[in-house]
């Protein structure tokens, strides 16, 4: 495979697996692997009730809202959180998650008169900020506590925040439309001017451990 073919291969891998002629650049095996691997968030999942699904979506969007760039909902983060809570968290972590979402479901309407997802954005933000303050002594917030897999006793708000941020910046939308995405740079330039509004590159090496 020469470099031009390789670039084509990457274009295909980067999200247009059915675009005709480009498919020829992939090996049968790589093509099959892609066909067998749709985006993770396209998987079906029926773990959360409709109400809890709305609460999680509102929490994720509060943490990473749509601004002039897409937000958590645009990037499919709510589905990511539901999939991860159902399939990836261990029993102990899932118990924390379920207690947390149950608390949101009952406490918020009691204290604020409406379910979380129906509150004004400012109110939603204030609630999550209060939850962060209450969780402030968690080891989760310790400086540099990032290069690890997951903190099993992290409070609910930290769980949701971590899954939101990780799910967002490793999503297709977050990688391409919020961060800068260049999976096949071809060259290394160690002195590229950085504008005030420029984003980081997606695909940092640490993400799989993050």
């Amino acid at each position: 495979m020469n470099r031009r073919e390789l670039m084509q291969c990457v274009v295909v891998l980067a999200g247009c697996a059915n675009s005709g002629s480009l498919r020829a650049a992939l090996s049968d095996e790589q093509r099959q692997f892609l066909l067998d691997s749709p985006s993770y968030i396209d998987r079906e999942i029926g773990y959360l009730s409709p109400v809890r699904r709305k609460i999680i979506a509102a929490m994720a969007e509060t943490i990473i809202p749509r601004t002039d760039t897409p937000g958590a909902i645009d990037a499919g983060v709510p589905r990511y959180i539901e999939l991860m809570a159902a399939q990836w968290l261990n029993d102990r972590e899932r118990a924390i998650f379920e207690a947390g979402i149950a608390d949101m479901e009952t406490r918020i309407p009691r204290e604020f008169g409406k379910p979380f997802h129906e509150l004004a954005a400012e109110q939603q933000r204030a609630i999550l900020e209060d939850m962060e303050s209450a969780a402030g002594d968690s080891t989760w917030y310790e400086l540099g506590n990032v290069a690890r897999t997951f903190i099993s006793d992290a409070p609910f708000i930290c769980q949701v925040k971590e899954l939101t941020v990780f799910g967002f910046f490793t999503s297709e939308v977050g990688s391409k439309e919020v961060l800068r995405y260049d999976p096949m740079p071809m060259h290394f330039d160690g002195d590229l001017p950085l504008g005030r509004d420029d984003s980081s590159w997606a695909l940092m090496m640490l993400i799989n451990r993050g």
């Binding site: 095996e29 990511y80 990032v146 941020v165 290394f188 002195d191 950085l194 420029d198 940092m204």
Partner: protein
């Protein structure tokens, strides 16, 4: 006897990784019919690197570790920095292929289990040993003298560098000889800033390119690096050296290569009448047993596996292991302690960013005890630093406080620069550091390996010094804040530089191999993986293994042609 007159092959090579691939190439190119036996499964270059370039959103859980599976089946391998969901199929399954350790003496044995072996997963750092490295044992009395000096091996370094493709900067340093380099990879602006400051404030320290086997110029069948980042997921352009991308295709092109995957070598049979290895016994993963014969046998299975095989291949002539009349087989096990000595925060070059994921950092060659003993050093030998430069991003700061648009903005944008120093420390050869065989057997009937290894006071003193020097370097470099890494020494094996258990030397009473990697006791047996190493140096060993393998292959072919084997 018919079978010794008409062996199945001219040469059998055990293992298809870094050294097995090079032995196969060099031997087949000299006209020998070669059989390569690989315990791992077949993996086709390129087409089977399924996780290569796979974006995270295509991976289950966006690539997050599968914790239960790893704990159950990859308890050791999953601790490795290069282990990921994109390349998990390359690694050993620890449940199926376990090993043991002495209580209180842990050892990490990272292994691959595919054709290409750890050459697919290695860190690609490629340095020459120096004249001082080859002379160290003779000078300070640790270990035995090397039977080879720098001048003997220098042409072979050149030979393999040209073939595998190493990029680097020429520095003219005695302690890190220059090689045949491709164009060096460019630097971050911050690295240029740091170099200029070190030149003034720490002139004894050289900051240079790490010399890595990644192409910056095309070679036949291989393309220059495209800077996608994670080399260890496999590289279908062959931009980094692996036996898959380089040596095995070259061997195959001669028409002289037979490669059998799924073939576990369980024993070498020795014929006392001829003083030769007469048969190589193989069990397939399905349990089928076979035997092959050859005029010469090259063990390239990796230090631990090759030594395991020799220890297990006992006979009345060699009750303590094949070619072990010296009794040193399995002893003098070495690895490089490695850790994070220090990391600095830099606010220079904040308006300078980068494009491309450079697959390496820079390198600070050994600067302690160079050319003689430093007065303030309470240790012998030295260490080098591999450096890493990165810009803080969301993945390094997501656990900060904040909810909403401001937090999103902070996560989206690059933060300050970080420059880290990772020390690689020379380990002295000591008899008490060893591997031996357990009474427990693996699923192929071979006794499991047990490790008994601990760092010595010299490694500890070097380690402590690295922390002191790292702080001096980071201050001189202009760090606004610098922090120390963990002081606890790495677990033996974590350097993934196992060496020394079948060491070479001139005296057959205290070494297993001669200076051509040939067993003193068994003339048709060569061992060219890290087990031959008489001392460890502080530099990464792979280039040295490749050079010795090429030289041993040339020697074996010549000896065969001359009727001496």
């Amino acid at each position: 006897m018919a079978e010794s007159q008409n062996p199945d092959f001219d040469a059998i090579v055990v293992g298809s990784g870094v050294t097995g691939g090079m032995a196969a190439k060099e031997l087949t190119e000299r006209g020998l019919k070669v059989l390569v036996l690989e315990r791992g499964r077949q993996l086709r270059h390129g087409s089977d690197y399924l996780g290569e370039h796979a974006p995270p959103w295509h991976l289950p859980h966006h690539g997050k570790p599968l914790r239960e599976l790893y704990a159950d089946q990859y308890a050791v391998q999953s601790r490795n920095y290069a282990f990921s969901e994109q390349n998990r199929p390359f690694w050993n399954n620890d449940r199926d292929n376990p090993y043991a350790t002495d209580e209180g003496k842990p050892f990490r044995w990272y292994r691959s289990d595919v054709v290409g072996g750890r050459s697919l997963l290695w860190g690609r750092q490629s340095y020459r040993y120096s004249e001082q490295d080859f002379a160290a044992n003779a000078q300070d009395g640790h270990g035995i003298p090397w039977p080879v000096n720098y001048g003997d091996i220098a042409p072979w370094y050149s030979h393999v560098e040209k073939f595998i493709g190493v990029n680097g900067r020429r520095e003219g340093l005695a302690q890190l000889p220059d090689g045949e380099f491709q164009q060096p990879m460019p630097w971050f602006a911050l690295e240029e800033t740091i170099k200029a400051r070190l030149a003034k404030k720490a002139p004894d320290v050289t900051l240079t390119n790490s010399r890595i086997a990644v192409l910056t110029e095309d070679l036949p069948g291989r393309a220059a690096c495209h800077y996608c980042g994670p080399c260890h997921n496999g590289c279908s352009t062959g931009s980094y050296f692996s036996s898959q991308s380089s040596t095995l295709p070259a061997a195959s092109a001669t028409g002289n290569l037979t490669l059998l995957p799924d073939s576990v070598v369980t024993r070498l049979e020795y014929d006392p009448a001829t003083r030769r290895v007469s048969k190589v016994l193989v069990t397939s993963v399905t349990g089928e047993q076979r035997a092959y014969s050859a005029k010469v046998v090259f063990l390239c299975a990796g230090t631990i596996a090759s030594t395991q095989l020799l220890l297990h291949s006992t006979s009345s002539a060699f009750p303590d292991g094949l070619a072990n009349s010296s009794g040193v087989l399995g002893h003098y096990l070495m690895d490089h302690p490695l850790g994070l000595a220090g990391m600095g925060v830099f606010l220079d070059n904040m308006e300078s960013y980068y494009r491309g994921y450079r697959p390496n950092g820079l390198y600070i060659p050994r600067f302690r005890n160079v050319g003689g003993q430093d007065r303030d050093a309470d240790f012998v030998r030295g260490y080098g630093f591999q450096t890493m430069t990165f810009r803080r991003d969301w993945s390094m700061s997501f656990n900060s406080r904040g909810i909403g648009a401001q937090y999103k903005e902070a996560m989206r944008k690059p933060g300050f620069w970080l420059f880290a120093l990772a020390q690689f420390v020379e380990c002295l050869p000591r008899k008490s550091n060893r591997m031996y065989l357990s009474s427990r057997k693996d699923r192929f009937g071979v006794p499991q390996v047990v490790f008994d290894m601990q760092w010595s006071d010299n490694e500890r003193a070097l380690w402590d010094d690295a922390f002191v020097q790292a702080q001096r370097i980071l201050r001189a470099a202009g760090a606004v804040v610098s922090i120390e890494g963990p002081r606890e020494m790495s677990t033996p094996g974590e350097g993934i530089h196992e060496m020394g258990t079948a060491r070479m030397g001139d005296d057959p009473r205290e070494s297993v191999l001669n200076g051509y990697n040939q067993a003193h006791d068994v003339p048709n047996l060569f061992v060219t993986d890290g087990s031959f190493q008489t001392s460890a140096s502080c530099v990464n060993p792979v280039l040295t293994l490749l050079a010795f393998t090429a030289r041993a292959s040339d020697y074996a072919a010549t000896q065969l042609a001359g009727g001496h084997i």
